[in-house]
C-alpha cells in the first residue's frame, strides 16, 4: 500500500478549477517529485495534502486512512509536514522561537532538544543566529530555517515546495544535498520543483503537472530522457 495517495483529487479557488482529477502515490522511503510550470497546480496539490485547502472532490489517504476528516493542524500530527513555497518563516520571531514552533504538537521535551541539536549540526548557521529575528536572515538561511522548523515535527513524509527557489547555485546544491541526507535518514519526500533537472536527478519517480492535470508519470530516469520534458522543463 502506498504511504500517501491522492485519489482523483479536484480543488477549487472559488470558481477557478485548480486541480482536475489528480492521482498521485508516494511509497514509503521514496523521493517523488512534482514538476510543472508556473500556475500548474503544484502548490495547490501540497495544500490539499496539508489540509489548508480542501479537495472539492476526491480523497487523500495516509497509510490507507482518509485524511478528509482532519483539520490542517491535526494532519501535522499524522506525520505530514510541509515546507511551504517562499519559506514563510515567522520574521518577527527569533530563529529559536521558529524552531520551537516547529515542535508545537510535540509533548516530548527531550526529543525536541535532541532535534534542535541535530538541526544545528546540519545547519550550523542557525545555531550562530539562534537569537536573531528570522526576518533578518538571508534567503538561504531562511530556507535552512524553514527546513529545520519542519524537521522539528519529526516528519514521516516531508512536502517541500520549491526549496531551491531564488537561491544561488551553490546553495541550490546544498539544498539538494540536505534532501538526500534526510532521505538517507528514512524520511519520505514529496518534492515540488521548477528546477526539473535537479529534481529528477534526486528523485526516484516523478509526475508532470500542467494546468491542474497530471500529464505524465514515470521513473525519474525516464522522465529525464523524455523529449517533451526536456523541451518544456529543462530548456533543451
Amino acid at each position: 500500500m502506498a504511504m500517501l495517495e491522492l485519489r482523483n483529487v479536484h480543488a477549487h479557488y472559488g470558481k477557478i478549477h485548480a486541480l482536475k482529477d489528480i492521482s498521485i502515490t508516494v511509497n514509503k522511503g521514496e523521493i517523488v517529485t512534482l514538476i510543472g510550470g508556473n500556475g500548474a497546480g503544484k502548490s495547490t496539490t501540497l495544500k490539499t495534502i496539508s489540509g489548508t485547502l480542501r479537495p472539492s472532490e476526491g480523497k487523500i489517504f495516509l497509510n490507507g486512512e482518509d485524511l478528509g476528516k482532519y483539520p490542517a493542524h491535526e494532519i501535522v500530527t499524522k506525520g505530514i509536514v510541509q515546507v511551504p513555497e517562499g519559506r514563510r518563516v515567522f520574521g518577527q520571531l527569533t530563529v529559536m522561537e521558529n524552531l520551537d514552533l516547529g515542535a508545537f504538537t510535540s509533548k516530548d521535551k527531550k526529543r525536541d532538544a535532541n532535534n534542535i541539536e541535530k538541526i544545528f549540526q546540519m545547519f550550523p548557521r542557525l545555531a550562530e543566529r539562534s537569537k536573531q529575528l528570522a526576518g533578518t536572515l538571508s534567503g538561504g538561511e531562511q530556507q535552512m530555517l524553514a527546513m529545520g522548523r519542519a524537521l522539528m515535527a519529526d516528519p514521516k513524509i516531508l512536502l517541500l515546495d520549491e526549496p531551491s527557489m531564488g537561491l544561488a547555485p551553490v546553495l541550490v546544491d546544498s539544498v539538494f544535498d540536505t534532501i538526500k541526507t534526510l532521505h538517507a535518514q528514512g524520511v519520505t519526500i514529496l518534492l515540488v520543483e521548477q528546477n526539473a533537472r535537479m529534481a529528477l536527478k534526486t528523485a526516484s519517480r516523478g509526475y508532470v503537472i500542467q494546468t491542474g492535470k497530471v500529464i505524465l508519470e514515470d521513473d525519474a530516469k525516464k522522465l529525464l530522457e523524455n523529449e517533451m520534458v526536456k523541451k518544456a522543463y529543462m530548456g533543451d
Binding site: V76, P84, R88, L93, T105
Partner: protein, 353 residues
C-alpha cells in the same frame, strides 16, 4: 534639488504641517504662560501626573486587547469597550451584595478578589462569545464586513446590559481600605491610584511574559504573522484566535474593576469613551504592537491629565479640563497624519515589507 523637493511635498502636506505647527506653538505658548502665571504648585503637577498614570494604566490594559486582536485578525474589535463594561457592571451586583452583608468591610481583600474574579470571568466570556458568534462565521469575508459586525456587536451588548441591569448610573460601594492616602517618598498618593497603577503594571508584566515566553504566546504571535504557515506547524489557528480574545477579555475585565473602584460608578455606556481612548492608545503605540499599546495608554493618560492645565489654562480657556477628550482625539488625528505607524510602529512597518 528644489525640483525634487517640490515633487515630494504637496499642498496638503504644507497645510497639515502648518496646522501641526500651529497646534505645537499653541501648546508651547500655553505651557509658558501657565507656568509663568503660577496657577499650579508643584504638588498640583504631581497629582496630575499620578492621576494620569493611574488613568493611563487602565487605558493600557484595555489597549492590549485591541492590539492583540488586531494582530491575529487585522480588525478593530469595536465591541471591546463593551467587554470592558460587562465585567465591572456584573461585579457591581456582587459588590453591593457583599457590602450590604458587611462582608466587604470585614473581609475587604477576599471581597475585592471575588469582584475581580466575577468581572474577569464575565468579560472573558463576552469576549470569547463575540469572537465565536460575530466574527468567526465571517472569517475570509472582506475586511469591511467584520468591522460593521463589530459595531453591531458593540451596540447589541450595550443594550443587552441596559436591558439586563437597567439604564441608571450605579454607585460602586466604598471600600474603606482603599480610601485615604499613603506617603510615598514624601509624596502624598491616593491609595486607590497607587493600587491601580501597581495592579495594572503587574498584570501587564504577566500578560507580556505570557505572550513572549510561553508556547501558546509564541503560537499567537505566529498566527498574527501568517495563519497558513502557523497551521502548517500544527497550530490550531481558531483556538489561538479564541485564546487571544480570552486574554484581551481578562485584561479588560480587570481594567474595568480598577476603573469602577477609581470612579465609583458603573453604567451600560461606561465602555464607550474608555474604549475609544484605549483604541487611540493602541494606535498611538502602533497597532498590533503590545508594548506599544501599553506605552500608548500611559502616554495618553498623562497627556489627558496634564495637558488641559498645562497647555490650555495659560491660553485663558475657562474650563480646560472639559477639553481633555478633545485633546485625546486631536492627538489621535495628529498621530494618524504625521506618524500613522504609531510610536513603536517602525517594527510593524517593516513586518509586511
Amino acid at each position: 534639488m528644489f525640483q525634487k523637493w517640490k515633487d515630494r511635498v504637496t499642498v496638503t502636506d504644507i497645510v497639515m504641517w502648518m496646522i501641526g505647527g500651529t497646534l505645537l506653538l499653541m501648546c508651547l505658548w500655553g505651557s509658558v504662560s501657565t507656568i509663568r502665571a503660577g496657577l499650579y504648585t508643584k504638588s498640583h503637577w504631581i497629582d496630575f501626573v499620578i492621576f494620569g498614570l493611574a488613568q493611563g494604566s487602565i487605558y493600557s490594559l484595555i489597549a492590549t486587547g485591541y492590539t492583540m486582536v488586531y494582530g491575529v485578525l487585522k480588525m478593530i474589535n469595536f465591541a471591546h469597550g463593551e467587554v470592558f463594561m460587562s465585567g465591572p457592571f456584573t461585579g457591581y451586583f456582587v459588590a453591593t451584595a457583599m457590602w450590604r452583608s458587611d462582608f466587604l468591610d470585614n473581609h475587604p481583600i477576599i471581597a475585592i478578589i471575588a469582584i475581580f474574579a466575577v468581572a474577569m470571568l464575565i468579560s472573558t466570556m463576552i469576549a470569547y462569545l463575540v469572537e465565536k458568534i460575530a466574527y468567526r462565521p465571517l472569517r475570509g469575508a472582506p475586511r469591511l464586513i467584520p468591522l460593521i459586525t463589530a459595531i453591531g456587536a458593540s451596540f447589541f451588548l450595550q443594550y443587552l446590559f441596559r436591558g439586563l441591569y437597567g439604564s441608571g448610573i450605579n454607585a460602586y460601594p466604598d471600600v474603606k481600605v482603599l480610601e485615604g492616602f499613603w506617603m510615598i517618598l514624601g509624596i502624598r498618593v491616593l491609595k486607590i491610584q497607587a493600587i491601580v497603577i501597581v495592579a495594572a503594571i503587574l498584570m501587564m508584566i504577566v500578560l507580556y511574559g505570557f505572550i513572549m515566553s510561553t508556547k501558546v504566546g509564541k503560537a499567537i504571535r505566529a498566527v498574527s504573522e501568517d495563519k497558513e504557515a502557523a497551521a502548517l506547524m500544527g497550530i490550531d489557528v481558531d483556538a489561538m484566535i479564541s485564546t487571544t480574545f480570552v486574554i484581551g477579555g481578562m485584561a479588560a475585565g480587570a481594567a474595568g474593576v480598577l476603573y469602577a473602584l477609581m470612579y465609583k460608578q458603573v453604567h451600560f455606556f461606561m465602555g464607550f469613551i474608555p474604549g475609544l481612548k484605549a483604541f487611540t492608545a493602541a494606535v498611538l503605540g502602533g497597532i498590533g504592537n503590545i508594548p506599544g499599546a501599553m506605552l500608548g495608554g500611559v502616554f495618553l493618560g498623562l497627556i489627558e491629565s496634564v495637558a488641559p492645565a498645562l497647555f490650555l489654562d495659560g491660553l485663558g480657556i475657562i474650563a480646560p479640563y472639559q477639553l481633555k477628550d478633545a485633546i485625546a482625539f486631536t492627538m489621535l488625528v495628529m498621530i494618524l497624519i504625521f506618524r500613522p505607524t504609531g510610536i513603536l510602529g517602525e517594527r510593524l512597518a517593516t513586518k509586511k515589507a
